[in-house]
């Protein structure tokens, strides 16, 4: 795997589709329709890059992550890992490939076997991929614990003896065990408290620099995503509606849905409290998505054409694609003031907090 030319993206996803059949009846099952969970999704991830996939519940972001790892069979479409088509692989080849593509889940407790010690959990991927012997796997386990900020003696403990943040560190260590190139991070910090979330986000950033990892970072929280990603793809009801580099997306979002998502985030600054233009209503069911543009039922700028004709993902600028008929003409949103916490004594106090912390850390 490692001999692919380095300019080939780690991951190329092209026209990915997943439909789930909805059935009725216990004895004679009849398909009564399809849930179009993922519809024609395409993107690439370069080496060492983080692409965030964001959207609300049911938009298909987690399904996309599972399709990429082939934990689920896609209905159609292509996924190439370092230039190699995953759909063509047989069972054995797929398992060998998985060594290079790992996943971290939202709920670390549900994804760790409660009957295995942490040492066994970390050795298992190596055993499955027939790497090393018992002694070298145990040594690797201790090394991994150190890498993610845990102690060697933790190898003898069980998952229930750890806090949520520590369990997520174990999940990360397991993903790193076989030296992967790509890690799919599926809402890795959503279940954690904010101070612990910051620890894990910083750890993921450190690991990326240290091991040259690529991340597909699946999240609903645009604030976390802004912190960790290089590029961002926004999904709505199974479709990509906007994809661009991070700075462009946050400074000049073009799709009305992206604009609404950014406006809806509560800003941790009472000075920015303003009356917002809000999205009305709920996300429609993916079982019967709206005709035309799927967002038109909630879009403040929708026109007749939007319900009739599905917009294509069009290029707005190099690397910036938007699926909206009218992105050239809809008014730009007021991007929120950037003063925020720079005022007051908070910034200076935080600097003092960080300095005191550094002074206490040995080395």
């Amino acid at each position: 795997m490692s001999d692919a030319p380095s300019n080939v993206p780690v991951l190329q996803v092209d026209g990915l589709v997943k439909h789930f059949a909805v059935t009725r009846g216990l004895i004679r099952r009849k398909t009564i329709g399809l849930v179009r969970a993922v519809e024609d999704v395409s993107f690439e991830i370069a080496r060492g890059e983080t692409l965030a996939l964001v959207g609300e519940s049911g938009c298909g972001k987690s399904t996309t992550g599972r399709l990429i790892l082939r934990l689920m069979e896609p209905t159609s479409g292509s996924v190439r890992f370092k230039g190699k088509e995953i759909a063509d692989l047989d069972k054995d080849a797929l398992r060998r490939m998985r060594r290079h593509m790992q996943i971290i889940f939202q709920d670390p407790y549900a994804s760790l076997n409660p009957r295995m010690t942490v040492g066994e959990i970390l050795a298992e991927p190596l055993r499955v991929h027939e790497i090393g012997d018992d002694a070298s796997r145990a040594a690797r386990g201790r090394e991994l614990l150190d890498i993610v900020g845990l102690l060697p003696e933790h190898a003898r403990r069980y998952p229930h003896q750890f806090s949520g943040g520590q369990r997520q560190r174990i999940g990360i260590a397991r993903a790193l065990a076989a030296n992967p190139d790509l890690i799919v991070c599926d809402e890795p910090v959503s279940a954690l408290d904010v101070s612990i979330q910051a620890q894990i986000v910083n750890l993921l950033q450190n690991l990326q620099q240290r091991f040259g990892l690529s991340y597909l970072f699946i999240a609903h929280d645009l604030a976390v995503v802004k912190h960790i990603s290089d590029r961002v793809a926004v999904m709505y009801l199974g479709k990509l509606v906007e994809i661009s580099d991070k700075k462009t997306l946050y400074d000049r979002p073009l799709h009305p849905y992206t604009q609404a998502l950014l406006a809806a985030i509560p800003k941790p600054d009472p000075a920015l409290r303003t009356k917002r233009v809000m999205l009305q209503g709920d996300v429609p069911s993916p079982f019967r998505p709206p005709t035309g543009c799927r967002f038109h039922t909630r879009c403040p700028h929708a026109q007749a054409r939007c319900s009739a004709e599905e917009p294509l993902l069009r290029e707005a600028a190099p690397g910036h694609r938007v699926a909206c008929h009218f992105f050239e003409t809809i008014p730009a949103p007021t991007i929120l003031a950037r003063a925020g916490l720079a005022n007051g004594k908070f910034a200076a106090r935080l600097a003092a907090f960080e300095a005191a912390k550094t002074a206490r850390t040995p080395g």
């Binding site: 609300e56 645009l222 950037r338 907090f353 005191a356």
Partner: protein, 326 residues
């Protein structure tokens, strides 16, 4: 100011096999009429137990609620009989929870549940109660309320269910609404709708809100005054503007620094090292001392009291205010 709720020295402890859990350990605060007080903290800090204690919903045993006083409209609710307490709950004092699906009964229509609450607390006829229920559903902006009233909870989206919960909680015109993580289970666009609805209803109905959340963003959007809790105690109390511009307690500073933000570019998030102490094994002195970069010997031995640092701003820290070179 006219206080609707005054909590003095509240302690809620749980006797468990692994020892005594001091979930809430001596807190005092006021909720003035018509204002929104935010109670913020991370998992296990005791913020939800505080609200359950005020509501009288802590199961006993294993729980034990003690206080000098919990005055609601100048009546000590801890001295009320079980029956008087029940009258108050859902009447003048009501509550909404994080997960509306688990707080709604799945085998009854939403209308039946709202009507039940109205009939329990008023002398209305069933017909009048139904009209009132529809009026409440309209108030929380449920479209075609007269039809949706006969829906079951599972026919509704998460946001709609939370609106139903709010309608039910407000149906008897409470003076105090306790909202425990009301938007945590909702998507961000729906969260914005619900927060907006709560502020709007407060303006129209004039009730006080005690909102409990882990999300400082939510606090910044809706609260007038904020209480920061850590390990069963209040560590800082201030007006919302003061808290964000001039945070004094090291925990508050670290917490604000660890929030990822879309309006500020920061290379790295600040972190608070370590994890919260276990409620059956609290540190002797300041409970934040083991994680605090400023802590010294005194902090580790001697618990700091909550004291005034400026008008309306209280901090429980020996080191506050942290000296800032300007």
């Amino acid at each position: 100011m006219d206080n609707l709720l005054e909590v003095r020295g509240l302690k809620t402890h749980f006797a468990t096999d692994r020892g005594l859990f001091r979930a809430v350990d001596g807190i005092s605060f006021n909720v003035p009429r018509g204002r929104t007080i935010g109670l913020v903290g991370e998992s296990g800090c005791g913020k939800s137990v505080t609200s359950l204690s005020v509501m009288g919903l802590v199961p006993s045993p294993p729980g034990k609620v003690e206080a000098e006083a919990v005055l609601f409209s100048n009546r000590d609710v801890l001295r009320l009989t079980a029956d008087e307490r029940r009258k108050l709950r859902g009447g003048k004092m009501s509550m909404i929870f994080q997960e509306p699906m688990t707080s709604l009964n799945p085998v009854h229509t939403v209308g039946q549940q709202i009507i039940e609450a109205i009939l329990a607390h008023t002398a209305m006829t069933p017909r009048a109660a139904r009209a009132r229920a529809i009026e409440m559903l309209e108030l929380v902006k449920i479209p075609s309320a007269a039809q949706r009233i006969d829906d079951f909870p599972h026919n509704m989206s998460g946001g709609m269910r939370q609106r139903v919960m709010i309608a039910m909680a407000l149906s008897c015109e409470p003076a105090l609404l306790i909202a425990d993580e009301p938007t945590t289970a909702l998507d961000v666009t729906i969260q914005a709708q619900i927060l907006d609805l709560l502020s709007d209803l407060q303006r129209r109905l004039g009730m006080a809100i005690l909102i409990i959340t882990h999300d400082l963003g939510v606090i910044a959007e809706v609260a007038d005054q904020v209480l920061v809790m850590y390990a069963g105690r209040i560590v800082e109390s201030a007006d919302v503007g003061d808290l964000f511009a001039d945070p004094q307690h090291p925990y508050t500073i670290g917490l604000l620094g660890s929030i990822p933000r879309i309006d500020v570019d920061r290379k790295r998030l600040a972190t608070i090292e370590g994890t919260v102490p276990s409620p059956n094994n609290q540190p002797a002195g300041c409970r934040f001392a083991p994680r605090c970069p400023f802590a010294d010997q005194r902090c580790r031995l001697d618990p700091p009291p909550l004291r005034d640092i400026s008008p309306g701003h209280q901090v429980a820290c020996w080191k506050a205010p942290v000296e800032v070179a300007s």
